[in-house]
Subunit: 229 residues, 2 copies
DNA sequence: TTGCTATTCCAAACAAACATGGAATAGAGT
DNA sequence: ACTCTATTCCATGTTTGTTTGGAATAGCAA
């Protein structure tokens, strides 16, 4: 086999990772898996895919080494293969949003679209460092608005879990006089935006954490697992 | 437009970057562009592509925001859009090689294949930090074996440029009693491996720098441009 | 064993990406 | 104006990915 042929083969192998990340549905699956492990059925439902389709996409991700599987009885749970994969996904997202005007617009449409874009909201976002400092004083309530199972799979130490769907009816669980910092999956997740809006509508002091759990993990900050409040 | 639709659109936009990286030929182009700007024809020749094909691939990279163009008369020069893109490429490569056994094998085949794989050669590779320390003392000669134009587009300060093709006939330009540290494009570039082998065959003290110019740039270490020795 | 469930495999229809050669474009030189 | 060159655009055939529904598999529970 010639040198040229070997080079071609190398780049084709590297391209398999690119291909795996070159499909919107697969990126959505990666985004979900970054929050914790999931069964095939769960992923299919949440991503709006047929079972066979979801399975096929997961095979592609697996062939590219991006996800691992764990068998539990008759179920198969998929997980991201590691933090490096989450980092790759984050960097891809950053490059896309920074370098492609259309991607930036699509993100803004998704995050703020349909609602009023509040210009000062962005400056009010709290950085991870600030959150750590304030949470240490007990000066803020940290609110996780992701689904309960994602909270269980890993959350910011001391955070309270109230999934966005149930936030309205469980408002009284939040101290009324304290500022609330809401967070969700990551930079491209709507949940915390909507939570902050809902809290403001009810006269609460609320801000959004910059980014979310994905970036928190990548920053290697402490993570608590389990259902406890 | 519904929320679901907007989400789909966002992930489809992000996937365009993945798609752009999902083709071996395009990755090869990115690899070349990481060394400096290039005309279409040059890229086509070096990557072994037809002109139309190369142009089409470059369009895809451009649409994804990964490369920029500069017009100079009738020529068009392509460049990587930024260090973030180089970083994305590096991370993709690392994930591929770390997570896919086939990719790791393909890399090793390309780097060492056809020649004897020397097991201790890897430990003899010099880290960037060590190189900086040794070069400051003048204890080693730093040798850039990439093509001259890549050297001109950016090299390690103090490095000597002898393209691999001309190394044999220009051996006498290297001080015979000093250790030589050879480097090339990056972790997946053969040039420095072959250079070290050739130098050893001529009884020289030679080692390879870990990785190459791509990773040097990403580490934000000093870079010199221009043709001067 | 039989039934039940979650997942994967398979085949077929459909859609998207790729390579190629020739035409069109745009800039520079004459 | 014409010519030359570098690049892009276009139409083509070919290959590769995607979705779908149904069949096959593997594990659990009677």
């Amino acid at each position: 086999m010639g040198d040229r042929q070997r080079k071609k083969e190398l780049f084709n192998q590297l391209a398999r990772v690119g291909k795996a990340l070159g499909n919107g549905k697969r990126l959505e699956l990666v985004d979900l898996l970054a929050q914790g492990e999931r069964s095939v059925e769960h992923l299919a439902v949440v991503a709006g895919l047929g079972l066979s389709t979801a399975s096929a996409h997961l095979q592609v991700l697996k062939q590219a080494g991006l996800v691992n599987t764990r068998k539990d009885g008759t179920r198969i749970f998929y997980t991201l293969a590691g933090l490096d994969v989450a980092g790759l996904y984050e960097q891809l997202r950053n490059v896309a949003v920074d370098r492609m005007a259309e991607a930036e617009r699509a993100r803004d449409d998704y995050l703020h679209g349909g609602r009023a874009p509040v210009p000062e909201a962005q400056e009010q976002e709290l950085s991870r460092e600030d959150l750590l400092a304030r949470a240490a004083d007990g000066a803020v309530t940290v609110l996780d608005v992701r689904p309960a199972e994602e909270f269980a799979a890993g959350h910011i130490p001391g955070a309270v879990s109230i999934p966005l769907e149930k936030l309205q009816q469980r408002l009284d669980e939040l101290p009324p006089d304290q500022q609330v910092v809401a967070y969700c999956r990551g930079a491209c997740c709507v949940l915390a935006y909507e939570a902050v809006e809902l809290l403001h509508a009810h006269g609460r002091q609320a801000r959004r954490l910059q980014d979310g759990m994905l970036e928190w993990r990548l920053a290697e900050l402490p993570v608590t697992t389990g259902h406890a409040a």
